[in-house]
């Protein structure tokens, strides 16, 4: 272990973020299905506007951690404190489930690895985008449709595809539709689980470009889980490397990728094909 591992202090010292209150504070979160299967203990702070990458091999607990953070799975122990616009500072799992569910459809967005997990495949693209608006109480069809068109264009899908079903879209378009569906209520925090998984490289590149623009334009905070270090380098400000459920190294993205300290991170970085 080295001095960067698990030390939040050194990260905070390197940035101006320390002046702001963290958006999400994770304290000793543990979730194990069986010994060695799960994740934890995990500690970190996420600040407004920050993109945090979680990398690691399959089965390292990345997705488990993400579902704990995004209120979809109760951790065995530990605290997740979220600074909400509506509810103020709240301990996620100590509070009411109704509050967590309100967060999930207003202040948060969740982009799934497989678009069909995050979309309603049997209703049109417009309805997919409009659903969150209707869930937060909008009841004017014309307004909902106008918003849906606006967001389709924002994610580079032709607005005349609004009445097509997601099943008629290509994989890349489905993924972009999923992003539009999440962003329509102007969330502050987005959770992404392998958003580029299963897409070919040119489509991946366009999606990443789009994501990067949206993140910077909207000032989103993002927690992105990926096994693709190129994606992490492009999007993430900060990286956490996980192995067998534990965080083995964390720090600024460039620092971790260019000067890996932990043997596992070194292995991970050296496994990428160099050109």
């Amino acid at each position: 272990m080295n001095n960067r591992v698990m030390s939040d202090a050194s990260i905070m010292n390197t940035s101006a973020w320390q002046d702001l209150a963290p958006l999400l504070s994770v304290r000793d979160v543990n979730k194990y299905y069986a010994p060695g299967k799960g994740c934890g203990p995990v500690n970190f702070d996420l600040y407004p506007g920050e993109v945090m990458g979680i990398v690691g091999e399959s089965g390292s607990g990345k997705s488990t951690l993400l579902s704990c953070l995004s209120a979809r799975q109760t951790p065995d122990s530990g605290q997740i404190i979220y600074n909400s616009e509506q509810f103020g500072e709240m301990d996620l799992y100590a509070g009411d489930e109704s509050e967590r569910r309100v967060l999930m459809r207003s202040e948060w967005g969740i982009v799934h690895q497989h678009a069909r997990d995050g979309l309603r495949m049997n209703v049109s693209a417009g309805a997919n985008i409009g659903e969150r608006l209707m869930a937060v109480g909008q009841r004017h069809y014309g307004d909902i449709r106008a918003k849906a068109e606006e967001w389709l264009e924002a994610v580079e899908i032709d607005a005349n595809r609004i009445d097509d079903r997601p099943s008629q879209f290509s994989g890349g378009m489905q993924q972009r539709l999923q992003i539009a569906r999440n962003l329509v209520t102007h969330p502050r925090l987005i959770f992404m689980d392998e958003p580029t998984g299963g897409l070919d490289v040119s489509v991946q590149a366009r999606l990443l470009d789009l994501l990067r623009n949206l993140v910077s334009q909207l000032g989103l905070s993002v927690i992105i889980v990926t096994h693709d270090l190129a994606v992490a380098r492009l999007l993430a400000h900060r990286l956490m490397v996980m192995r067998r459920g534990e965080v083995v190294e964390s720090g600024l993205t460039d620092q971790v990728l260019d000067d890996p300290q932990h043997p596992y991170t070194q292995l991970l970085v050296s496994s990428i094909l160099q050109n």
């Binding site: 459809r105 869930a135 009841r139 069809y141």
Partner: protein, 291 residues
Amino acid sequence: MSTATGYNFAYLDEQSKRMIRRAILKAVAIPGYQVPFGGREMPLPHGWGTGGMQVTASVIGEADRLKVIDQGADDTTNAVSIRRFFATTAGVETTESTAAASLIQTRHRIPETPLQADQILIYQVPIPEPLRFIEPRETETRKMHALSEYGAMQVKLYEDVARFGHIATSYDYPVMVNNRYMMDPSPIPKFDNPKMNRMPALQLFGAGFEKRIYAVPPYTEVKSLDFDDYPFEVQRWDENCAICGSDHSFLDEVIIDDAGSKMFVCSDTDYCRSRQTNATESATATEETLS
């Protein structure tokens, strides 16, 4: 009145009736909430109105007068069988007249004649969960009801407007009861939805297959879902009823020959018949005064 021997009054045993009555009381106390109950086997298949029959069997008394309708008609197989079933097992009086009935078991319609405070309307319900088409998990739909998360239901209406230019859902049209619970009004045409609002009669819903009972107490607000810019509307017809001339009742389209000729008639047979009788009577009365 003939009563079948060897059966308890109205077929069900008293313990089962008590259990169902408890479910009904709870349903009335929480308008629109689906109360689970221990559905009993009835001597006909699920989907033929076993839910409605169990509710009827639990609330019926010797002094009641029962009317049963199916698609508005008193003389269709399902209606005739259920009416005869209770005539045999409970020995109660039956009627085809809406005004004369104290209990009305119905499938697919609410009678055209406005119901009164001393009447009970019992619906046969195939699928009690309005959210089922969006959310297949029962645990999840229950949570959605508990937390009033009904935004997703609007998606169905959005799809209608996007595809057809208007809300094309014409039956089973979701309603909000007492501003709290979303309810499936059973497959009645949306034409009948406004009749549910602040109805003086008690409305009970029984789903035999899914073992759920729910209720709308008298004078409860029932609102059909819609959009601000696409308000709720009921069906209209250009024709009047070919038999009684009614211009305000729900009409069935009936094909009358192989050439495709058709006529429109009231779906509520009792209402149509009473309008004809009234018309003949007033015509006779006019003739008598003239002569």
